[in-house]
């Protein structure tokens, strides 16, 4: 099975936000607030129900790098276009009680808007804080991986609009190779903290939208050790069943005393 993937490269991103614009326009995503955050040039702040691509602007003080700004306090300016990770083991998909969230034939994670009833359980089940409920609509939304465009043989709108090929769309295996060689290339050029963010060793089991980043993933709000919440089910249910058994015994004892009339 062909697995569709995004490789988003922070070292190629110029922070133009064409991906954000293209995504909003193609998917007809509503406006979700025009506010100034004060965080560098980022006024989008986070992914959400109406933000499916989000360009981050990291200012890393005292670090030399590709986007060194010409100021008296030099900093490395790093941009990264964040997106739904389309996890191999997706918390949102596992937790969805209606079956609205499905895995498509290209292994992406898709929310069927005609099925979602807005229960909100996916919102607390995503270890990356991606999917959210759109209050004025009631349903949960996230990146569709431009499933409609893919069905029509087109590449996702963000990848199409990216002027620097920072966002690459293609087969997962091919992009894995490309990501590896890109990191090697960067390291050869002196970027010792270049790395791939793709938590394959965790219960998430890898992501289909992975990243080339500079520095620690925490700086991008990417969890170093994401957990798919279904792994907690066994211990939680065990606790529930053991507690229930103890409580049944307790109630039996209480009523046994009652009939015995000893209290």
């Amino acid at each position: 099975m062909a697995v569709a993937a995004f490789l988003t490269d922070a070292t190629l991103c110029i922070g133009c936000k064409a991906c954000e614009v293209a995504c909003k326009e193609w998917n007809e995503v509503p406006e979700d607030g025009l506010v100034l955050s004060g965080f560098s040039y980022d006024n989008t702040k986070a992914l959400g129900a109406s933000t499916w691509r989000h360009v981050m602007f990291l200012e890393q003080p005292e670090v030399a790098g590709p986007q060194m700004a010409d100021t008296k306090d030099p900093f490395r300016w790093v941009f990264l276009s964040d997106v739904c990770k389309h996890c191999a083991n997706a918390g949102c998909l596992e937790s969805c009680p209606t079956g609205a969230i499905v895995r498509t034939e290209v292994a992406s994670v898709f929310v069927q808007p005609d099925v979602c009833n807005g229960c909100g359980y996916c919102v607390v089940s995503c270890p990356f804080g991606v999917i959210d409920k759109r209050p004025e609509d009631g349903r949960a939304f996230k990146c569709t991986f431009c499933y409609d465009r893919q069905k029509a043989g087109l590449i996702p709108a963000c990848a199409k609009a990216c002027p620097t090929q920072s966002i690459r769309f293609g087969d997962l295996e091919e992009l894995h190779q490309r990501g590896k060689s890109r990191v090697q290339e960067l390291r050869d050029r002196g970027y010792d903290d270049a790395r791939i963010y793709d938590p394959q060793e965790t219960s998430v089991g890898g992501i289909h939208a992975f990243f080339v980043i500079l520095g620690e993933p925490e700086a991008y709000n990417l969890p170093p050790a994401p957990v798919v919440p279904t792994v907690h089910l066994k211990s939680a249910w065990s606790s529930a069943l053991i507690s229930a058994a103890v409580i049944v015994v307790l109630i039996c004892v209480a009523f046994a005393f009652q009939t015995g009339g000893t209290l």
Binding site: P66, T98, N117, K151, A219, A225
Partner: protein, 343 residues
């Protein structure tokens, strides 16, 4: 090209005439972006340290906060009482408890079973689609299991009430008695699940303070549930030894839980000790635990003292469900709780 049917229903692909225009528009976005933007420096390292330590992205949340409104914690509370009432009623039946008590337990279960779905439906973003909850049976989704548990419980407790009322009115045929026992037993089992699964529901999420307390939560919610059910019985006048014992047991266990929470201070538990959620949880824990326990120990010989203990326990139990949801919101807002987690 063959269209994927479910998707075609959801959103129609733009017609071909429009498609050309939109593709040109995407090209235009790309051109204008590359015209405006340019690199400020060549892709060359410029010396100096690398790998800076930044704990999070501008301190913004790394997770989305729970979107559940006031209905959900109230449902946790009522579901716990309804489920444990039906369970208590069945066990009372096993030990030849009074008919009035069993009847009251079953009716409490039924009233709860009637209110719970209303609360859950009101919380949905699309309430008219509540039946979509029943289009799949999914063991891996605690929410799906909860929906089925609630449906099963409601039906069992309704059947039990109908059989019980018929029996009271003199319809004493063996089939009816058998059906009553079956319905009561099924309501007791599903009632236990209803009172306990809500702890699993929030325990098996990405919210750190919930998932790190996933074994405590079901135990706490079940204890809160059976103590609440016994409390309702006492307030309704069933001041019998059994409810006294259950009241002592529930507030005793809640005291232990409160002591454990106060002693074990992990960083992930910050929302349980600080801020609004911390204060609410402390108050709830004190009411459910020590306050109810002391009231019962010193004034429990009188009916007023027992009712006060039961009332205090119920208030604490209700407040605790809200406090846990508030704690989840605070935990999701704190990026450190998620980002500093180790594999």
């Amino acid at each position: 090209m063959k269209r994927f049917e479910p998707f075609a229903r959801a959103k129609t692909m733009k017609p071909a005439t429009q498609l050309k225009a939109t593709e040109e528009r995407l090209e235009e976005i790309r051109r204008s972006a590359s015209d405006v933007a340019q690199r400020t420096a060549p892709l060359q390292p410029m010396g100096g340290p690398q790998n800076p330590k930044q704990e999070s992205y501008y301190g913004l949340p790394a997770l989305k906060a729970p979107v559940w409104t006031w209905e959900v914690p109230l449902y946790f509370f009522l579901g716990g009482i309804a489920g444990m009432s039906a369970c208590t009623g069945f066990i009372a039946q096993l030990f030849h408890g009074g008919s009035a008590l069993i009847r009251f337990c079953l009716w409490t279960g039924l009233v709860g079973a009637a209110l719970c779905p209303l609360l859950l439906i009101a919380d949905l973003g699309r309430p008219m689609r509540f039946l979509n909850m029943l289009r799949v049976f999914k063991l891996r989704s605690a929410m799906s299991m909860g929906a089925w548990i609630l449906v099963a419980f409601s039906n069992c407790v309704l059947l039990a009430v109908v059989c019980f009322e018929l029996q009271l009115r003199g319809f004493a045929n063996p089939l009816l008695v058998g059906l009553l026992w079956l319905a009561e037993a099924a309501a007791a089992v599903t009632g236990l699940l209803l009172a306990g699964y809500t702890g699993v529901l929030i325990g098996a999420t990405a919210v750190p303070v919930w998932s790190e307390n996933r074994t405590l939560l079901p135990a706490h919610f079940l204890t809160s549930g059976f103590g609440g059910a016994a409390g309702i019985l006492e307030l309704a006048g069933f001041l019998i030894p059994a409810t006294q014992i259950l009241g002592f047991a529930a507030s005793g266990i809640e005291t232990l839980i409160e002591v454990m929470l106060q002693v074990r201070k992990r960083p992930v538990d910050t929302p349980l000790h600080h801020g609004g959620s911390g204060r609410a949880l402390l108050l709830a824990g004190l009411l459910e635990g020590p306050a109810a326990l002391l009231l019962r120990a010193f004034l429990g010989s009188g009916s007023k003292g027992r009712c006060a203990a039961a009332g205090v326990f119920l208030i604490g139990s209700l407040l605790s469900r809200y406090a846990w949801i508030w704690a989840g919101r605070a935990s999701a807002r704190d990026p450190g709780a998620q980002l500093q987690k180790k594999a």
